[in-house]
């Protein structure tokens, strides 16, 4: 993982730019004040409220308090659909068996509560030779390849 910039021993980034160095604020406080460029989206937040302000956001953290709560996958994807290009970081109870789907939904950084095993991470990202459906990544679905 030489190409990964790290600011703590758990943070994994798939981006070239510098990581934002200040703490993310809640969606409510982000919407109240204009200076923050990093925000943390909780599962119950409506990520669409951020859409008018995407231009001043450099980091969106999407929190997974429990790995089984899948709302963050939709939050991530709809932000990418809305054109957000900054860092999208999955934080919290993020497990190695989930990161491949998270990437497909637009996450490009992970800050899990428990560190991920490097070999398992490598295996997770190289597991799927193809994808069936379109998502927020640039992968071409099988059904498009079949009729290319």
């Amino acid at each position: 993982m030489d190409d990964l910039a790290t600011e703590n021993d758990r943070l994994i980034r798939y981006r070239e730019d510098e990581a934002v160095d200040h703490a993310a604020v809640t969606v409510d406080s982000f919407l109240d004040q204009s200076s923050a460029s990093a925000v943390r989206v909780e599962p119950g937040d409506d990520a669409r409220e951020l859409i008018p302000h995407l231009g001043r956001l450099a980091l969106v953290e999407v929190n997974f308090p429990a790995f089984g709560d899948g709302r963050g996958y939709s939050s991530a994807r709809l932000l990418r659909e809305a054109g957000y290009e900054g860092e999208l970081r999955a934080v919290g109870d993020v497990l190695v068996d989930q990161v491949a789907y998270m990437r497909r939904c637009g996450f490009d950084a992970f800050d899990p509560d428990a560190p991920l095993d490097a070999d398992d991470l490598e295996a997770a990202f190289s597991r799927w030779p193809e994808v069936y459906q379109a998502a927020a990544d640039s992968r071409t679905p099988i059904w498009t390849k079949r009729h290319a």
């Binding site: 089984g68 996958y73 068996d97 099988i142």
Partner: protein, 543 residues
């Protein structure tokens, strides 16, 4: 039927390797049971009452003889020589070892089968009409649409940690043989102004809060089928309740938002998604359709059936169904022998059914949600030979859609969620009616038994339903009347206080006798119940 190409095979093979790795990490202690559980569930592996149980997907209930042979081989190699066909058109094995599960999945993958998403809070195996492609009354074969949705929903990155499980059924006939409106999404392929499209019913289900799905969109064009489905799933994933697992199904969301507001939310999401490139190329649907073209039916197949053997004639009358091609029928193999375990088949029986499908039904079989097996395309001229072979193997029970054709969940004999046993009740009822000779007079009567309120045995949808409950540590059975899973869908109502095991068998006979006394010409049990209401039944049961 659908055949994998290199892509489909790669995906299933990759999944086997992923699971092999996950199981290894579990056995090595790198994954806790809490972490492993959702992963094994998404591969159909439960920890059940006695052992690990594996649920294998049979997409839209269709399989060929090679696949049925493989299921039989798996029953012998990894299990105890039998399997259980379920109300989701799947098969379950009851005694699987975790250390062998990945190898089993690899064996399945060799015959284009898998256990992907047969459990867990994700989109489950998609069910369909068991007479698809054969039924005289269908508009088109619904399975190409089910297959398209199978691909879309497989390994879906956004919808693998939903609030709760998610079940989809696709039909293409006004006659509903798939309990379509008791699904999270029910799709009926319809025609409007000469165009095919999909009517979407959303928010049905059984379980502890049974609901009938309302139609939220009468016509979605076929080139928007996937995008519209995606919009529904996104609304559900974002807003479905996660605070209480008993209120987490989409039916609760639709109910709490109200049908109109829910539909508006889906439409808004759909409008945003239209430019996201979610929909597959239409050529994909056309490619899939080519796999479901009619087999080469003989154009001059004989309509004659030699009915001189009365046992055979009875089986023909009860267990064969009109086919769209003249000279053919769909033949139903009953897995409901009197006193038997509904839906169980031994490996020997599976092999026989596979061989008969090859000989007599263009190499195709179907699993019915009523836990029987269909040979969809049988020449009438072959029926006697088919019946003879079935009868010799104990598979010739002439009881389709009769009171002996009971749906029963595994119940407390196998299931850790159950409160009472289902199978012994089914056994005793079928024995009672086989002995008292009332089966014929009762005609079409759907009896469905669940061993707990999760309703895997569809008791809400039975003309007669039975629900097993735990009454201070003793099995107790409630009687319900008036349900239907078909196009005349309705939810059954509880008659009153429950019964013990012997009492529920008597109660079913009492209810049947009320029908026999009160019925008017041409009425089924359900019709009579709907006409006269609950009161006469209550009077007979408790008066």
């Amino acid at each position: 039927m659908y055949l994998y190409d290199q892509y489909d095979q790669q995906m299933v093979d990759a999944r086997v390797e992923e699971f092999r790795d996950q199981a290894r990490r579990r056995l090595d202690g790198k994954l806790t049971e809490d972490q492993f559980k959702p992963l094994r569930l998404m591969n159909g592996l439960y920890l059940q009452l006695h052992a690990y149980m594996l649920r294998v997907a049979i997409p839209y209930g269709t399989l060929n003889s090679r696949q049925m042979h493989a299921l039989a081989d798996i029953a012998d190699k990894y299990d105890r020589g039998y399997g259980h066909f379920t109300t989701r058109q799947n098969i379950q094995y009851n005694w699987i070892k975790l250390e062998e599960a990945a190898e089993l999945l690899a064996d399945l993958a060799k015959v284009e089968m898998h256990a992907i998403q047969t459990s867990g809070n994700c989109i489950r195996n998609i069910s369909s009409d068991h007479f698809a492609g054969a039924a005289a009354d269908e508009l088109v074969d619904p399975r190409p649409y089910a297959e398209l949705l199978r691909q879309w929903s497989s390994f879906h990155p956004e919808f693998s940690y939903l609030p709760r499980k998610f079940k989809i059924a696709v039909i293409a006939s006004d006659t509903d043989r798939a309990a379509m409106r008791l699904h999270d999404i029910g799709i009926q392929i319809v025609e409007q102004d000469g165009e095919l499209g999909a009517a979407f019913y959303v928010g049905g289900g059984m379980g502890r809060t049974p609901m009938i799905a309302p139609c939220i969109k009468a016509f979605v064009p076929l080139d928007r089928l996937v995008t519209y489905s995606e919009a529904i799933l996104r609304v559900y994933n974002r807003y479905g309740r996660r605070d209480n697992k008993y209120k987490a199904r989409i039916k609760i969301l639709v109910h709490e938002m109200g049908k109109d507001d829910f539909t508006q939310a889906v439409d808004d999401e759909f409008a945003r998604m239209l430019d996201e490139g979610i929909e597959p190329p239409f050529a994909e649907l056309e490619r899939i359709r080519t796999f479901f073209e009619d087999p080469l039916f003989e154009t001059d197949a004989s309509e004659d059936i030699d009915r001189s053997d009365p046992d055979f004639a009875l089986w023909v009358d009860r267990n064969t169904v009109a086919h769209k091609a003249s000279g053919y029928v769909s033949a139903v193999i009953s897995l409901k022998p009197v006193g038997g375990i509904p839906g169980d088949a031994t490996s020997e029986q599976m092999r026989l059914m596979a061989d008969l499908a090859k000989d007599y039904s263009f190499d195709e079989l179907r699993v019915m949600h009523t836990q029987n097996i269909v040979l969809p395309h049988v020449r009438k001229a072959d029926l006697h030979a088919l019946w003879t072979a079935l009868d010799e193997a104990g598979l010739g029970s002439p009881n389709l859609d009769t009171i002996e054709d009971i749906i029963a969940c595994p119940g407390l004999d196998y299931c850790s969620l159950a409160n009472a046993r289902s199978i012994p009740v089914a056994q005793k009822i079928s024995e009672r009616f086989a002995a008292n000779g009332k089966t014929e007079a009762l005609g079409k009567l759907k009896l469905k038994i669940s061993g707990c309120i999760n309703a895997c045995g569809h008791h809400h949808a039975g003309h007669i339903g039975i629900l097993g409950v735990d009454k201070k540590g003793v099995e107790n059975y409630q009687l319900l009347l008036g349900g239907s899973e078909a196009e005349d869908v309705s939810l059954a109502k509880i008659t009153g206080p429950g019964f013990d095991e012997a009492g529920i068998v008597n109660a079913v006979e009492t209810a049947a006798d009320v029908y026999l006394r009160e019925r008017e010409k041409g009425e089924r049990f359900l019709d009579t119940y709907r006409r006269i209401g609950m009161a006469p039944f209550k009077e007979a049961l408790y008066g």
